[in-house]
Each structure stands twice: as structure tokens, then as C-alpha cells.
């Protein structure tokens, strides 16, 4: 698990809500700080990769899949870069 400065729970949220909520949360971070996002939408893996490719202020540190009570959680660590 990577270290992080803020966490965002978007379990149950459908695309594109995890992205929109993450973009808003990222705005509250200082440059260099890390946001942990916990999602249940499997598509969030590709969605966050796409965000990091096209946005100018986000990079992915890591993405992990964690099983929690029979449910897969997709955990993303994102750094604000600008």
C-alpha cells in the first residue's frame, strides 16, 4: 500500500462519478500530495489511467485490487503534479 494524504471513498459509484469526485478532491490537495481513491467499479482501472494520460496535473503512483468481504475493491493512488 502506498502512503497518501487524503482518501476518497467512491464505492458503488458509477463511471464517471469516481473521476469527477476525484478531480474535485485533487483540487484540495497541494502539489506533490497523494489521493487514495477506493472504488468498486472495475472499469475505474482504465478510467483512471485515461485520466492520468490526458490531464496535466495527475499521475498514477499505483493501482491495487483488494478483496474485502467477497467484493473487489479497486484502490488508486494519484499524485497531484501541478
Amino acid at each position: 500500500m502506498s502512503s497518501f494524504d487524503q482518501t476518497l471513498d467512491v464505492k458503488g459509484a458509477k463511471c464517471p462519478m469516481p473521476l469527477v469526485k476525484s478531480r474535485k478532491a485533487m483540487g484540495d490537495l497541494a502539489v506533490g500530495q497523494v489521493l487514495q481513491v477506493v472504488a468498486t467499479d472495475r472499469g475505474s482501472i482504465a478510467d483512471f489511467q485515461g485520466w492520468a494520460k490526458t490531464a496535466k496535473n495527475v499521475e498514477i503512483i499505483s493501482q491495487e485490487t483488494v478483496e474485502d468481504g467477497g467484493v473487489n475493491l479497486y484502490v488508486h493512488y494519484l499524485r497531484r503534479t501541478a
Binding site: 458509477k14 463511471c15 473521476l19 472499469g43 482504465a46 490526458t54
Partner: protein, 162 residues
Amino acid sequence: MTTHELPCTTLQHQTEAAQLRSYAVTPDVLLATQPQPEDWELLAAQGYRTVLNLRGDAARAAEQRAAAEAAGLRYIYRPWPAYALEPDHVAELAQIVADPETGRLVFHCRSATRVGLMWMLYRQHHQGWTTERAEAELRAAGYDDDSLETFDFCASDFFERL
């Protein structure tokens, strides 16, 4: 392209006729999940003329363009950023919808949620529909409460940033 208001039952029948999970918001516009390889010819046979892909993967889009065009469909790839949609993206969608070359349109992403949001923004921002009217259209096409909640949240974010 002309769109028509039809009774919900007619639109629902049209939605069920497709082999993929889809939502016919008008007789000429089908919002859909990712079509599978066997769907392109079926969509063409049902009279759809243009496919508009909102997904981000350019390599996959190139493969799907070849398959869709082989089935006789026009293919448009627009990976608009779902995390920060802007009025220019809605205007571009409006141009595609209005283009006589478009004909009947299949507008898809992965789960049909982003395209539902884009359609709601098109109705509200481009055509001046109220939130209630735009939501009613999407609900009549088959979108559930979870989807409508997502559309509400993301549309509010869009309008807050104008």
C-alpha cells in the same frame, strides 16, 4: 437529423430489439454499452448509420472502426474527458447529431453511463431543456435511479464550472 417524440412503449421495444444493453432516447439515437463484434452488422441491419465512440482507448477504437466500417457503418471516435466535460464537447456532439450524414446514431461508451450524461448535457446545455425533462427522457429509455443520480451529480459539476 430529425428526432421525434414517440410513446415510451415504442422506444422500449426498439431498445429490446438490440443485442447489447442500450437505451433508445429517440428513434434515431441509441445510447449503448460497448458493442460486441457480432453487434455491428446487427446495428447496420436495424438501420443505424453512424457509431460514435466516447471511450478513451485509441488502439481499441481503431480495431472497432475497422469492424464497424466493414459492416457499413460510419465511425466517429471522440474520447471526450469524462472527468471534466466542457461546453465545446457538448457543441461537438450537437454538430454530430445535427449532421445529415449522421443518420441514425449509436452513441456508446463502456457502460452507457457517460453517453447518458453527455445526452443529458446536450438536452440541457444545447437545447435548453429543464433537468426534469431531460431526466424523464433518460428514465423513459430505461436508465435506473443510480444512473440518474450519477447524471445529476456530474451535470451539476458541469454547470458549476461554466
